[in-house]
Each structure stands twice: as structure tokens, then as C-alpha cells.
Symmetry: C2
Subunit: 423 residues, 2 copies
């Protein structure tokens, strides 16, 4: 096998064989295919595509580059969710304990935020004492004790994906659906879940800006799941406006706890329950307790508290609050027609809730609370958003991002919260 042959095959629009894919991913992982060769191949894949057979083989090769987790020792079915990321997307926080409360096991390996979208681990780390890094044995212990675990992926899981993602990030080759889909699915399949629900977001605050691209990504991931024996369903959901009212880290934990207490914003509750039902159905547990009941009766909250405690966190502790706040009032009276997700995400990032580079810290207290949602009537001069930051110098640039993100007057033209379902 020769790297140039593999590159030239894809460059010229050909189909890569299973042997070529297995070889090139393995050789790249071990440093026998150079970074500059893999980036040329990634660009050829981005521009010329891969078919279903190639994408499944590519995913398989990335899984094979590392270890695969095994939950057969559990007496419960495993089921998980993956979101492609958005603004205010704290859904994993109420969802994992909720699904566990309904009888399934949720072994979720999660990530940190980069850019304008937040990361589940960053949010959970705002809880004093909570730690993201667990060994496989610790994960199994937490799962057995509570039914749900959310932690960081270890270095042994799909190392090819880790290396390839870092390369794509600096070579303009991130935006390839075959490469995005195989990256996500290689980690989720290696994680060992038997059922998987994908929350593929679309809109300004999502990675996929159009419904068509989101649908293509969702369909590609569902195919990969199916090809690897994981029962996979995808929901296409709205990310044209923020999800819920809180955007940040600690503020999103607070909102999640409200949902677990039976309250919280309607959209967060609706999406959490819908995803929980999909996760239970995919795990063949549809006859157990309904998720809406588990939010009302406190059983999901019980799992949440146990799950946080099991990872060293204090579920009763006060959460970090930013040192400074700034209230943005409504500039006019009328219907809030637009509260653009990307603008709000960018503002929260600039306030310190997100990071620009992987090694940067995040501010747990920074973020935004939205006092109105699109469609609400607002009155000029009354609070629209409250901004939180440790450093007041950050408000100006956050406000710059928010100004064009807010429009008052006219009916809002919003995506339905749940746009479609693919399986």
C-alpha cells in the first residue's frame, strides 16, 4: 500500500477499498502516513465525498485504532445521545439522569466547548468538586450505582480521530459530512452504547447552517450506526435561537436543575422529554416509566444528585457567580422577532463562558440570561438580557455581537423545535 495511491484514487473521484481505508487510517495513526499526506486526502474527501461503504469502513478503522468499551457486565440496556452542539444546549444534564430514572443505563463520553458552542464537561465542572476524568472501572461503578455517567473520553478511545481532528482543524478540512459523521460515530460506537439518539442541530448557532446539510449529516450518521449494529435515531432540531433562557456554564446547570425539579423553560423540557423517549425506545424500553412523569415525581432529580455526588460533586453547593453583570434593555416595544443563536453564543463566548484555544480556561460564572424568547412581547427600556462576566471590560465586545442579533417588530420566523426525525 502506498499513501499516494490512496490519495490519487480519491482525488480522481474513485472509491477507496476497505483495505485502503484500513491501511491509511492505521498508518496515519502510527505516523507512517505523514500529516501532509492525510491533509491532502482529507481535502480530496471533502471535495469528492465518500459513499456509505467508504464512510462505514473509515469509521470502523478509526474505532479499530483504539479500544472499545464494553458494558455487558451491566444488567441494564445502554442508550446514549449525542448533540452536534448549539447555544444553550444543556440537554445532556437533565437528560442523562432522566433516562436512567426510566430504567436505561447512560454511559456518556462528552466533550468541552470550543468557539461559540459550549461543552457539557465545562458546564458540569462549574459544580464544586465534580471531576470529568474517570477510569473505565470508575465509569462502570458510577453507572452501576446511579444508572448514568457523564465524563471525558480517555486517550485510548479512537486515537485516530483525535489526531485527524487536530489536523482537519488547521487545514480547512473540518466541513466534510463523511469526516464529521465518522468522527462523531467512531467515538460513540467505541463508547459501547447499544442505542444512540442523535440531536442534529441546524440554524445560525449550529455547525450545520441549513436543514439540508443537517439532514445529510443525520442520515449519514444513522447509516453508520446501523452498519455497526447500534440502534440509531436522529432528530433534526432548531438552533436558530438559543435553547432555553440560560447560556453559559453555571447558569445552564441552574436551568437544568430547574428542569429536573419539574420546571424550567418549555423548549428545554420538550426537547429533553422527546430525546428521553427516543433513547428509551431505541433501547427497547418503551414500556417503562414515561420521562415526563420522572421529571414531575423527583426520580430524575434523585439520579442527578447521586450522579453528581458519585463524581465528587456537591449537588447542593452554591454555583459560581460572575463578579459583574450588565443589563441589556429592549431597544423598542413590540414582539421580539429575532434572538439569533449565533450572536448570543458569540457574546457568551466573549464574556468568558467559552474558550478560543483548547488549553484556555473558561469562566464558570460568565454567560447570558435571556428574559424574553422570540415571539414574546417586550417593552422598550425593560430588561431583555442580563450579561455576566468576571471582567467588566468584556461587556463591550459581547454587546457588539448582540446588537445585530436582536430584532423587535414583525412575526418571528422560527424553525419548529423538532424539525424532523430520521431512522
Amino acid at each position: 500500500m502506498d499513501a499516494i495511491d490512496v490519495i490519487v484514487t480519491k482525488r480522481d473521484g474513485g472509491e477507496l477499498s476497505g483495505e485502503q481505508i484500513a491501511w491509511v487510517v492505521d498508518a496515519y495513526t502510527h505516523g507512517n502516513v505523514a500529516e501532509e499526506q492525510m491533509s491532502a486526502l482529507a481535502m480530496a474527501i471533502l471535495l469528492n465525498g465518500m459513499n456509505r461503504r467508504e464512510i462505514s469502513a473509515w469509521t470502523e478503522a478509526m474505532i479499530e485504532s483504539g479500544s472499545r468499551m464494553d458494558w455487558s457486565a451491566l444488567d441494564r440496556m445502554t442508550t446514549d445521545k449525542h448533540s452536534t452542539g448549539g447555544v444553550g444546549d444543556k440537554i445532556t444534564l437533565p437528560l442523562a439522569p432522566l433516562v436512567a430514572a426510566c430504567g436505561a443505563a447512560v454511559p456518556q463520553l462528552s466533550g468541552r466547548g470550543l468557539g461559540h458552542t459550549g461543552g457539557t464537561l465545562d458546564k458540569l465542572e462549574s459544580i464544586p468538586g465534580w471531576r470529568a476524568s474517570l477510569s473505565a472501572a470508575e465509569m462502570l461503578d458510577v453507572l452501576r450505582a446511579t444508572g448514568a455517567v457523564v465524563c471525558a473520553a480517555g486517550a485510548g478511545l479512537a486515537p485516530a480521530d483525535r489526531k485527524l481532528y487536530a489536523l482537519r482543524d488547521v487545514t480547512g478540512t473540518v466541513e466534510s459530512i463523511p469526516l464529521i459523521a465518522s468522527s462523531i460515530m467512531s467515538k460513540k460506537i467505541a463508547e459501547g452504547t447499544s442505542a444512540l439518539v442523535l440531536d442534529v442541530k441546524t440554524g445560525s448557532g449550529a455547525f450545520m447552517k441549513t436543514v439540508e446539510r443537517a439532514r445529510e449529516l443525520a442520515a449519514t450518521m444513522v447509516d453508520i450506526g446501523r452498519d455497526h449494529g447500534v440502534r440509531t435515531v436522529a432528530l433534526l432540531t432548531a438552533m436558530d435561537r438559543p435553547l432555553g433562557r440560560a447560556v453559559g456554564n453555571a447558569v445552564e446547570v441552574t436551568e437544568s436543575v430547574e428542569v429536573l425539579a419539574g420546571g424550567g423553560p418549555a423548549d428545554v423540557v420538550e426537547l429533553t422529554v422527546a430525546l428521553a423517549r427516543e433513547m428509551l425506545a431505541a433501547a427497547d424500553l418503551p414500556g417503562t416509566k414515561d420521562p415526563a412523569d420522572a421529571l414531575r415525581d423527583g426520580s430524575a432529580m434523585d439520579v442527578w444528585r447521586k450522579m453528581i455526588s458519585a463524581q465528587g460533586g456537591d449537588p447542593s453547593a452554591a454555583l459560581p457567580v460572575a463578579r459583574e453583570s450588565h443589563v441589556l434593555t429592549a431597544p423598542a416595544t413590540g414582539v421580539l422577532s429575532t434572538l439569533d443563536a449565533y450572536g448570543v453564543g458569540l457574546a457568551a463566548w466573549r464574556l468568558g463562558a467559552g474558550r478560543a484555544r483548547k488549553e484556555d480556561p473558561v469562566s464558570f460564572g460568565a454567560g447570558i440570561i435571556c428574559h424574553a424568547k422570540p415571539g414574546d412581547h417586550v417593552t422598550a427600556g425593560t430588561p431583555l438580557l442580563t450579561l455576566y462576566a468576571d471582567d467588566p471590560a468584556r461587556f463591550d465586545r459581547a454587546l457588539e455581537a448582540l446588537t445585530p442579533a436582536i430584532k423587535i417588530g414583525g412575526a418571528p420566523d422560527l424553525l419548529p423545535l423538532i424539525i424532523d426525525r430520521l431512522r
Copy 2:
């Protein structure tokens, strides 16, 4: 400026600005754009193309990465030729002294062979004592004294091209007409010639297998020359069969000397004279001596002897002869309908005339003499080709390449020697 922005612009089918091109080529040359970023960009260029403005800017940036030679101290017009390479293509050897004998100065920076096509410097180095490396001052001395110099390009000439070519070679990004054209033209323009004739070959033994691709490459290079004030003409010429009868190093020098002595194979003479006339016309010297006369009257041979001597070579010395030879006889009686250039080139390479890696030595005596050319009548059992090699173990693999390259019977379907002219 940011490398990812440049890559994404081209990836998405956009046009690179002059600033983007100047920046990315300069930053790459200085190591501030990584190899893996440049290879992704090269693949995007290969697949999405560049327009004339971008190609000229890219060429300019590669020229600007190094020094530019200056022949204004000469009292003659400079004119040069570049061939895209072929099998038996020794044309530079008789051509450079011939054009000098007709009144122009020929400052040719040439290269070594790689793969199945030979290199002018390898051929000349088979002359005892001749050396390829000259300083700029030595080049000027030889040019002043003889009117022609053929030598290796120094490291200061278009270093961006040198670095980029090595990268393209291992990343499947060689076959891009904008990148091939700018690579060739950056070196020729930096070489400082005022007029340039391109010999763009097409056919099995050429880099461009089809007339359409050759025409596209030729037109692209003519445009670049024009955009940089170099009077540029291109001939599209045949490389479906070997040029002349000799393929190798010393054997090609011998054939070149035959041409300079007024003899030699008709196709080599025809192409040499046609290119010489083009070089003189491009240099605005059409009224001087006709090249056909300069071959007949010995004046081109006089320049050749001076030129070889001026670079340390002995034009009267015996040339290296391979230790072993093998005669391949005609397998049937009839018209030789095919003598495929690629097969003959591959065989000569396997005999030792070419190199597989840049650092390999070549065998000066190895090569092939063709006793018949396509269209000739041959008789079964009489010599068709003589193969030369230092190691007789090499004959078998050379013969394997030759067997499918020879067909007897039926009228040959050959390209015209000179297919077209572009300016």
C-alpha cells in the same frame, strides 16, 4: 492573514486575491504555513483550479521567493527552450549551440531525470569532465565566450517551487495544470530569459497523455510568460514514440553530435531546427543565419565543442559504453506499427539510464538504440532494438516493458511530430 482562510477560499471554489497568494507562498517558504496546510491547499487548487490572474500571481510569488538572474550585461538577446520531457528527448544538446551559432544567447538552467524520462544534465554528465554546477559569474563567462550555457539551477532560484514540488510529489498533487505551469514558468522567468519556446509533449511517453491536456498546459504557460513580459511560444509535439533512435545518456550525446555534424535521425533534426527558428523569432533575430545552414556548415558544432570545453568537458573524449548488450529481434515481418514511447522509456530506466530516487546515480552507458522507427518495414529475426546495461540481470525486466510496446503489422497511427503552435 491566516492559512485556513486561504485554504477555505479555494476549497469553496473562490478566487484567491493577489495578497493571499503572495502571503501564503512566502509564509510557506519560511515555514510559517505548515506542510499539511500547503498540501490541503494544493489539493484544493488541483480540484478547483486557478484562473489566469491567480496563476500569474502564484508564479510571481514563487519567483519572488528567490533571486532573479540578469543578463543585461550581454550584448546578445537571450532566448531559451523548455521541454516538458519525453523519451529520447536530447533536443537541448544540439539546440542550445545551434541557436547560439545563429546569434542569440541561450542561458539554460536544466534538470535531472526522474522516472522514465531522462534529464539533460544526466546526458551531458556522460561527457568526461563536464560539470553541471556553475556560479552565476561562471554562467555569464560561458555565455559570453560561447553564446550558450546549460547547467543546474542554483538553490537561490525559486526556492518556494523546490519546496512545493517536493511536497506535491508525496501528496498526490503533482497533476494540476496551474501548479505544473507555475512551477516551470517560475524557474524559467527567474532564469532571466527574454524569450522562451516551450516544447509541450503529448502521448504515452509524455507527462501529458492527451493533446487536450497538453494544449491546456501550453496555453497556461504562454499566458504566464506574456503576463511576465517574456515572449513565449509553445509547440505541441509528439511523444507517442521515442524521439530519434537513441534513448539513454551517452547514446543520446552521440546522436546529438551526429545532428550537429549535419546527420542524425530526421525527426531530431526537424524538431531541433523548428525549435531553433522559434527561439530566434521570439528573440527578434529572424534575419540572421538559418539554423538548417548552421547544422550543415559546422558552426553549431563549433559552439558545441566550445560550450562543452568551457564547462570542463572533453568534446573529443570517448563516451562511456555499457558492459553488456542484448539484441531484441523483430518477432515478425511487416510494418512496425507501434514502438511505444512509454514502454521504451520504462525499459531504458530499468536498464539503469534513469533513477528511481533523486539521490540515485545513473548509468551513463545504459540505454536503447532503436534500429527501426514506426512505419519502417522490419523482417522477422533481424535486430529491432539493442539494449545496453552494465548489469545483464537488468535485461529481463526491460524486455518485459518492451514486449507490449512493440507491434508489427498494420499502418502506424502516429501523432504528427509537430502537432500545433500556440502563442
